[in-house]
């Protein structure tokens, strides 16, 4: 049965179709405040001295609330339960037998209440709660900060295990329903900006990147968020991601160090309610500086985080992302998601031996460029 709101919503959506325009054509951007923020790469490895700093800001003069989801994309051993990257990590020392390394996808959600114009930050391995909250209201001090609102209700958990590879997604939401408010056009709230910094404690170097933003354009207030397509509630994810990269093993033209890159991809469609994410196939077209083209593809189940020269092979020197194959220093990869949209981030590292993380001297991350051609719909389903 249609409610009054649903009628209004349908009329709004129809009006967009009648207008003869794709409802939204802008790609996810890293430049403007948005209603959904995606931090595609959160890394914590205390043994290796790596942790991630997260920064979330409210650019509005009104208090805002963000409903956030950590996605733990670790794989686990079937026998020991430990975190693994391959079966070789799954040897049971008591029996000497190996278990299987099974990909996982576990979400943890929490709320962040931001006061007006407030920036807030935390370290992924530590979280933020209790007395550490900057604006914690009490009965005797209901307005602890200069402006409107408080951080009460915020409890950011530490990531659930270490080592950790995963994603953070924050959705601007109503503080009561924890769902986005109903809105149309300019009444939709797009107030959040964010950055993440992956820190290597040994080198003090930080690879920072801006969170990808999806701007809200229309919303019916339910818990299925339509990203792109004919009835878009948020701007679409990209059809094509464009990654400039330095070929793995190429010699850096400044410091004569060896370069290597990592790529992280996250599907835009995610079902936090059913705890599933449909697989997306990433098709790669790789161009070198001679305009020569090679291609490969790789399935992205819930999160792909890999050195680029291991996207298509277990032997990096034979990869189409290896300088041995590419033949030039710089390349361009066009990454098309088949079966759904993708977002992601790239990381460039310099080392004395690019195959050995221990020799890494510095790193830097950067956003992937986005191209929207057909605006395929993705869906984020909230619990």
């Amino acid at each position: 049965m249609f409610t009054e709101w649903k009628l209004a919503y349908v009329a709004s959506a129809l009006s967009l179709v009648v207008a003869g325009v794709t409802p939204v054509s802008a790609a996810p951007d890293h430049d403007n405040p948005a209603g959904i923020l995606i931090y595609p790469k959160i890394v914590v490895d205390t043994a290796a001295g790596i942790d991630t700093r997260l920064h979330l800001s409210n650019t509005s003069s009104l208090p805002q609330m963000a409903h956030c989801f950590y996605v733990n994309a670790n794989s686990h051993c079937t026998n020991t339960g430990g975190v693994c990257s391959s079966f070789a990590d799954c040897q049971d020392t008591t029996t000497g037998t190996f278990g299987a390394c099974v990909p996982g996808w576990i979400e943890t959600n929490f709320d962040i209440f931001l006061t007006s114009n407030q920036p807030i930050g935390w370290v992924a391995s530590e979280g933020l709660a209790g007395d550490e909250l900057p604006c914690r209201a009490t009965f005797l001090n209901p307005n602890p900060c200069a402006g409107l609102g408080s951080n009460n209700g915020t409890r950011i958990p530490p990531i659930s295990e270490t080592p950790f590879i995963g994603e953070l997604k924050c959705i601007q939401a109503d503080s009561v329903t924890r769902l986005p408010l109903t809105c149309a056009g300019e009444t939709c709230r797009n107030d959040l900006t964010g950055n993440a910094g992956i820190t290597d404690i040994d080198t003090t170097d930080v690879a920072s990147y801006p969170a990808a933003g999806l701007r809200s354009v229309l919303n019916n207030g339910d818990n299925d968020l339509i990203v792109g397509g004919e009835t878009a509630e948020y701007e679409p994810c990209a059809d094509v991601l464009v990654m400039d990269f330095v070929y793995d093993g190429a010699i850096d033209p400044i410091g004569s160090l060896q370069a290597s890159s990592e790529l992280t991809l996250v599907p835009c469609t995610q079902d936090f309610r059913g705890q599933t994410t449909p697989p997306v196939t990433a098709q790669f077209l790789v161009y070198n500086e001679f305009e020569q083209r090679l291609s490969t593809s790789r399935r992205v189940d819930c999160l792909l985080d890999t050195p680029i020269s291991r996207i298509d092979t277990s032997q990096p020197q034979n990869s189409i992302f290896s300088v041995n194959v590419g033949g030039t220093i710089m390349g361009q990869a066009r990454i098309r998601g088949i079966g759904g949209g993708l977002t992601g981030v790239a990381l460039l590292a310099l080392a004395t031996d690019y195959t050995d993380d221990e020799t890494r001297l510095g790193w830097s991350s950067y956003a992937l460029d986005t191209v929207v051609e057909t605006s395929v719909a993705d869906t984020i389903s909230l619990p």
């Binding site: 325009v21 405040p33 920036p119 900006t193 404690i201 003090t204 690879a207 500086e289 030039t328 460029d369």
Partner: protein
């Protein structure tokens, strides 16, 4: 309102009409400024090649058509005009304040050594990209044109020039210059590249994107390989730009942002993970650009901490602004560790023509480009790039143009007990769109 409350169809229709109007506005294909969508003008707001760090510029054609590119690099690095030994030791600066407390060769501190003279020279060159071609160059060496250098995994340096494997075209332009991307040393500034056609006229091809990677050189044996990287700012073209004057009016090209906002750590704080000391540097390139005058970059800052306590301030620099957090006069003093700052263009105008001769002055820098201050009066120099509120402020033949928009990047420095500074860079987020048009122009071309 009661009617609307009782009649959902009517309210739906009205909401629909409102959205229709919005959709209609969007259907005008408004060009945007983006760091993740290709554009027709790409701006790298911070490029460093100053002997301590160097920069790799990557530039990519994302389309299956040839892309012709004209680039202008503006050096915003100045020198302290009264350096005690300029022949042997140059005191680089971005503002007069940085010329304070210069130490002379004998070790004595010299106060008020300035002013900081910033001539803002610009260097231009051309690059041609084939379909989907990526390319790059190192700023200090540039890159020599070589259409068919064989495959390989490294560049070859000969003298101060670099040859790299790949198809690289940097043609000689119609003024006889070119054949390579020129190397630039002693450089701290910005780079912008325009997509043009074979004749050198602007086109809105929206084919270009890029990144900049600023790399430490390991001076004194520390910090080699530390990287800061950021995406270029891509200004999309819209309708029919032509010639060599780009109007950022929302029609020909996207308008610049009304303000920028940065998420950053507080200068003087400790990194929450590595515990290293944090310093922050903000760099701004003006949206308005001309090779004939230096656009003054005026920035108005607002900073909020986690307690919502706000601080504000403003400043101006010639052609390119670079602020260390600790040099901003308390604008970004530490209150909590995580901060958000917004930076908006200043409100005062910018002289785009006029003579400063006859103006009162206390130093050469008061007399604009080529200025000479004698007996408290400018005897040479033009007023272009000086602050103005009317044409009269710009001297004989003066023109007072609008204040320029700004594009920016923030860079963090993390220094541990070994004094090895890790780094990271982040482009600003944008807040709104300016109502004032900016204009970029250039000379030369194919």
């Amino acid at each position: 309102m009661r009617l609307l409350d009782r009649n959902p169809r009517l309210s739906g229709l009205l909401v629909g009409l409102a959205v229709l109007a919005l959709a209609g506005a969007r259907a005008q294909a408004q060009p945007e400024i983006s760091s993740t969508e290709p554009g027709s003008i790409v701006v790298y707001p911070k490029v460093i090649a100053d002997g301590t760090r160097d920069t790799i510029i990557s530039l990519t054609n994302t389309t299956n058509m040839m892309a012709y590119v004209h680039c202008e690099a503006t050096n915003g690095l100045g020198t302290c005009s009264n350096s005690p030994d300029p022949a042997n030791q140059i005191y680089y600066c971005n503002s007069d304040e940085e010329c304070l407390d210069v130490v002379d060769p004998e070790g004595a501190t010299l106060e008020n050594v300035g002013p900081c003279e910033i001539p803002c020279p610009s260097t231009d060159f051309d690059v041609v990209l084939t379909a989907h071609q990526p390319t790059f160059w190192r700023v200090t060496t540039g890159r020599v044109q070589d259409p068919a250098l064989a495959s390989g995994n490294m560049c070859t340096s000969i003298g101060n020039q670099q040859f790299c494997p790949g198809f690289f075209l940097a043609p000689v332009d119609n003024q006889g210059a070119g054949g390579n991307v020129p190397g630039m040393s002693g450089f701290r500034g910005e780079l912008r590249c325009f997509q043009v056609d074979q004749t050198g006229a602007l086109i809105a091809g929206n084919a270009l994107k890029g990144e900049a990677f600023i790399e430490a050189l390991g001076v004194d044996g520390t910090g080699v390989g530390l990287l800061s990287g950021y995406n270029s700012v891509n200004i999309q073209g819209g309708e029919a730009p032509s010639g060599n004057v780009a109007n950022l009016d929302g029609v020909e090209y996207a308008r610049c942002p009304a303000a920028l906002t940065f998420n950053h750590l507080a200068p003087g704080s400790a990194d929450p993970i590595s515990d290293a000391d944090v310093e922050v540097e903000f760099s701004f390139a003006p949206c308005t650009f001309s090779p004939t005058f230096a656009t003054v970059v005026r920035v108005s800052f607002n900073t909020w901490d986690e307690m919502e306590i706000a601080q504000s301030g403003g400043d101006q620099r010639a052609c390119w602004a670079n602020y260390r957090g600790s040099l901003t006069g308390g604008m970004i003093a530490r209150t909590t560790d995580f901060l958000r700052s917004s930076a908006a263009p200043g409100q005062t105008g910018n002289c785009t023509a006029g003579s400063a001769v006859g103006f009162g002055c206390t130093s050469d820098s008061n007399c604009g480009k080529g200025g000479i201050c004698f007996d408290n009066e400018c005897v040479a120099g033009d007023s272009t790039g000086m602050v103005c509120s009317s044409a009269a402020n710009c001297g004989v033949g003066g023109v007072c143009g609008p204040p320029s928009g700004i594009l920016g990047v923030a860079e963090h420095f993390y220094t541990d007990e070994l004094s090895i500074p890790g780094t990271s860079a982040d482009l600003a987020h944008q807040l709104g769109i300016r109502t004032i048009n900016d204009v970029m122009s250039f000379t030369g071309g194919f």
